[in-house]
Symmetry: C2
Subunit: 333 residues, 2 copies
Amino acid sequence: MKTYNVAILGATGAVGREMMKILEERDFPVGELKLLASARSVGKLLPFKGREIAVEEAKHDSFAGMDFVLGASSNAVAKDMAPYIVEAGAVFIDNSSAFRMDPQVPLVVPEINAEDVKNHHGIIANPNCTTIITTTAVNALNSLSPITAMIASTYQAASGAGANGPVELMAEVEAGLKGEIYEPKVFVKQLAYNVIPDIGSASDHDYTTEELKLLNEGRKIMHLPEMKVTCTCVRVPVVRSHSVSVTVQTKDKITVEQAREVISKAPGCRLVDNLAAHEYPIPLETSDQDLVYVGRIREDMVLDNALAIWCCGDQIRKGAATNAVQIAECLIG
Amino acid sequence: MKTYNVAILGATGAVGREMMKILEERDFPVGELKLLASARSVGKLLPFKGREIAVEEAKHDSFAGMDFVLGASSNAVAKDMAPYIVEAGAVFIDNSSAFRMDPQVPLVVPEINAEDVKNHHGIIANPNCTTIITTTAVNALNSLSPITAMIASTYQAASGAGANGPVELMAEVEAGLKGEIYEPKVFVKQLAYNVIPDIGSASDHDYTTEELKLLNEGRKIMHLPEMKVTCTCVRVPVVRSHSVSVTVQTKDKITVEQAREVISKAPGCRLVDNLAAHEYPIPLETSDQDLVYVGRIREDMVLDNALAIWCCGDQIRKGAATNAVQIAECLIG
């Protein structure tokens, strides 16, 4: 059986560690696995398929012989390393936002636009976590009638900020029980018992960078260059799984029943939609899995041809690590 | 100075206790204060203006000599007591949802429709907490151009479910730290580290009762019978203060600058809107006060003539107790 040499760039972070887990779980045909991180993590041992692999320092010459480099680093590291990865002949599947809007770089959610991987020139970008979850949830509607607009408000988990996000949330909770104050470092405000409408940084038109991703990346992934999107991104004191409340408008009317039918069969989705029985997606029941859960589907009362929808998904798995490994699977499939 | 005899129906709950605090804080000219609750709270002593008042059992004949009855009870108790309150000649300012949509009953947010109190026939209804906060936040826009539609997603605090809501949230947090599971009783699912898109009960068109309140009550308060509203109500693990992400469409265009200008001067509102400086409303900074905080104002990217807005307010105070006392002030003013 053919195997592929894989490097993980940023292996010690929340997404990097999850990538190792996913490669193992999905039995990806890994030959050599190289774990790359900054100098301070060198020698750290991380488990993979019953053995332990030592972290190496990521350098420009780290990529010889690799088939795939799964990127889980900062934008700066991704930009610095990308030319060397491509030169070494590996395909760089990058989870940073550095290359997502580059017209030369496919931006792929395999359930939606797997065929776009073919157009790569050495780099394929993994979309933003909220964008992956929301587009996976609503893509089946797009197959019935083109999506023209989305208005979304998000409920994003602490782990979306990396492995230190949940650590800080729990430190705040424990400090609070002792009557102490924990000074936040990862988030701009205390997250425990709070919600913070400020993810990313201030960008155009008083939106945050995070809020503009669903617009820009959503258009590119779904091949809907005219789609309009308003997004409000809010951090909530949840450990894992992002949730999104989204109104989705389509060119032609899709009934609630039609929406439930297509979403129940959509790849990557699970329909959980029975309000009277208290069945709908919630973060605690959608974590540590790859499916995007979709529910609370009902007619929007403001817009014509629109549905109000609620979805949840594990942003470290489907929203990042799983999606990246799925892209690699598309390339070898 | 003229004084008024006041009874609080449901005095031992979260809203009832806050009503006592607000009457004292605002120096409402209270003559006799009568605390009414169910039989099991009889004799309980609650503090008011440096003394303690014993709780009495709420009965049909409890209201003789009262000028105002502030209702903080269930719908069932409110419906049962209302005829006796009116017969006793008191004005019933009721926080339950029992009478809100009754055409004979004014539904009042004093900053918006204070003049409606004049039309009462013995009962005035206090609106739903989320509705009070959202309408107070956006009402200034309505003075520039009529609001035609709102699409809202809420982030509602545990105390919106009453005094036991935060108790359950904290019990879940403490159980979690010990590795134990706390079986939820107040909420339908665990609230700690979770969000729950299910407040109220299942109602028409797959919306919850809570979600339809912003539509029905919002129309009545703002005198906008044609206003369209889509609302998704979500419980979040916050102790106090509800937050709302809302797109507000108006008949004519209102610029972001115009919106900031009128909201900064609107009664009951405080504008906190500087994203780059991380200044925006958050629950932790808006609790235990009466103002509704408004920020993150920007042009909606989907709808014409629409703004995306974020607001937070203390739902026990402005969203319930303070608003009820303000209604009483309108009547004596």
